[in-house]
Assembly symmetry: C2
Homo-oligomer: 358 residues x 2
């Protein structure tokens, strides 16, 4: 704390921002009256002519209310906390933009924090946000079991989850329809003649990992495809390395298969690595489908067939939902399941007659 003198040059009176009291003095009214005139909600309480005069003077003086002082008094902030696990994952920045755009339109802003997937960082960030009177939260970090979120929910903290859901049904969320996405991908593979399909599942403590795996299993049944247990491998993380490792396991000791449905694009990239490490070609020897359609998935080699989720819209809808709750706390929060589409590129092709796997 010592020795910090930010904006020292602004100590000069000339640079100082006008204060409410100064506006009031100029207008010849009491600060309270000026406050009322300058606030939409209370403007009606003050004589229209006086209000107009006050507003004119305030504008001339370049007055704008001090948000710190206001926040101290009102315990509000016109801000929400946006908690992201990893900003370097290209999935999240478009979500952030969706949130920001919607909030900005109503004068709110988002305070973003990157937790690096660390619960301790998340907890500290949430604490810090609360001390700063954020009015609600958007979490992209949800685990199915997530004590911190349960705690906040129990305290009726306004919040919305994005991308991932919690097992706690009281917490509203905006996610894509994972089951539908898996079904589309499977349908596509079956139409290409694939019957021997495997799934690289993501971590099962996340709704995305769990739901996609369950949907895969259901699809196998619905489509009457071979469905032994070994058709699914659960990856340790949503990472390329984990995907490569899991794919290696399947190639070594899994069943015969001609297509892979990866739990997300990063895992699918790992599949690419495992394939080229063994001299297998995609899609000739093996078809691969990803999930998310992250930026640049059209540029990788081969361009990846993947389930496209509406990143930006997820963020935007989450912000809208949150604003609804803030405007009417009695409102029962809804969860939204957004539709997704299959983007077909060249990582999927006709099933080979002679599978490269044993």
């Amino acid at each position: 704390m010592e020795g910090l003198h930010p904006f020292a040059a602004e100590g000069k009176r000339s640079m100082q921002r006008a204060t409410l009291r100064e506006v009031a003095v100029m207008a010849g009214v009491h600060p309270a009256t000026a406050s009322r005139a300058l606030n939409e909600q209370t403007e009606g309480l003050v004589n229209a002519v006086t209000a107009a005069r006050i507003k004119k003077i305030a504008a001339e003086m370049g007055y704008s209310p001090n948000p710190i002082a206001r926040s101290l008094k009102t315990a509000r902030s016109e801000s929400i906390g946006l908690v992201i696990p990893d900003l370097t994952n290209p999935l999240f920045p478009p979500i952030v933009r969706g949130v920001e755009d919607v909030l900005r339109a109503v004068g709110y802003s988002a305070w973003i924090v990157n937790t690096d997937n660390r619960p301790d960082v998340e907890k500290a960030a949430v604490q810090s946000f609360r001390r700063r009177n954020v009015e609600g939260f958007v979490f992209a970090t949800a685990h199915l079991k997530h004590p911190l979120l349960d705690e906040l929910a129990a305290a009726s903290t306004p919040m919305v989850l994005v991308n991932r859901r919690s097992a706690n049904p009281d917490i509203p969320s905006v996610t894509s329809d994972d089951a539908a996405g898996v079904a589309m991908a499977m349908q596509h593979l079956v139409e290409l003649g694939h019957t021997k399909i495997v799934h690289l599942a993501g971590p099962q403590d996340l709704s995305t990992g769990l739901n996609r795996r369950r949907a895969f299993t259901s699809c196998l049944e619905d489509l009457r495809l071979p469905a032994e247990k070994e058709r699914t491998v659960i990856c340790e993380a949503w990472s390329e390395q984990a995907g490569a490792k899991a794919m290696g396991t399947l190639l070594d000791s899994g069943p015969e298969f001609t297509a892979v449905l990866a739990g997300n694009d990063l895992l699918a990239l790992g599949v690419y690595d495992a394939l080229s490490a063994r001299g297998l070609r995609c899609p000739d020897d093996m078809s691969v489908v990803g999930f998310n359609d992250m930026p640049f998935m059209d540029k990788v080699s081969p361009p990846m067939t993947t389930v496209r989720i509406p990143h930006y819209e997820i963020g935007a809808e989450a912000a809208r939902l949150l604003l609804e709750v803030l405007n009417d706390p009695s409102r029962h929060p809804r969860s939204l399941l957004l539709p997704l589409t299959l983007t077909v590129r060249s990582s999927t092709g006709p099933a080979p007659q002679n599978p490269a796997t044993n």
Copy 2:
């Protein structure tokens, strides 16, 4: 504002956070004494035994100071503003993490804003940050001429630019050594036998676009390569589309050439597009070098040879520089030029004997 009741359930006394006054009462001292005991800088002013007692009680009560109240009083915030042009550009998230990590270690935090490259959004964000008493800024949005930055610099606002510099020499920055990077790339191409090289330059109102273009021109001279003016095309934006368009122009009406140095990776991706649109192969017909080594550039087809800049370190160093200035405002701010490396992948190869260009 109306109707917002955040954390309504926390109105309950039991959930309320302890206040300084409450701690003071429990400890049987005046709030001012408690304040002194609880602040590192002033702890020495208070009797060691009393101080210990106060701290113990504060801990038991779970006391933590209200940052809003503190900020209102002190006009500080332990926060800085971090201004990013576009978070969906993979170049920036690692920089953000560098900044955050360094700040977090000293108890500071960064308030991130995405300007979408819009000066109005940037201006509003800066205003908003200042009203919230940020102690300084990190800007990733700098233009060579940038009135807003000049204004802040004139007011001695602590700030550091990242990735891009300003023409204003008073503003410290942390950037990579663009000229050195260009030289490395050119050296590499020449070693592969290329002599006919062109440059896709970025916007010339940005230091990155300008410096890389100038370095390219110097390299042509130094290496005694053909150096007509048409060897450089200036792109309208750092985007794939702009790169494709510029490359099209060169292929249609430019000089004979066998290699392209792109101003950044996005432009280089546009070059890929233009090449495949004309049935040209990379690197057989044309070598391509990018700049930045954004995430996934090892995954595109062909994997891209590109100049790697130390994204994370740029952010981290910027935060360190800013903290230095905050701790000692009299300190003359330095600018840092970080070294970079060439990452050779398969988008560059031996110069073809018969150039595909006219």
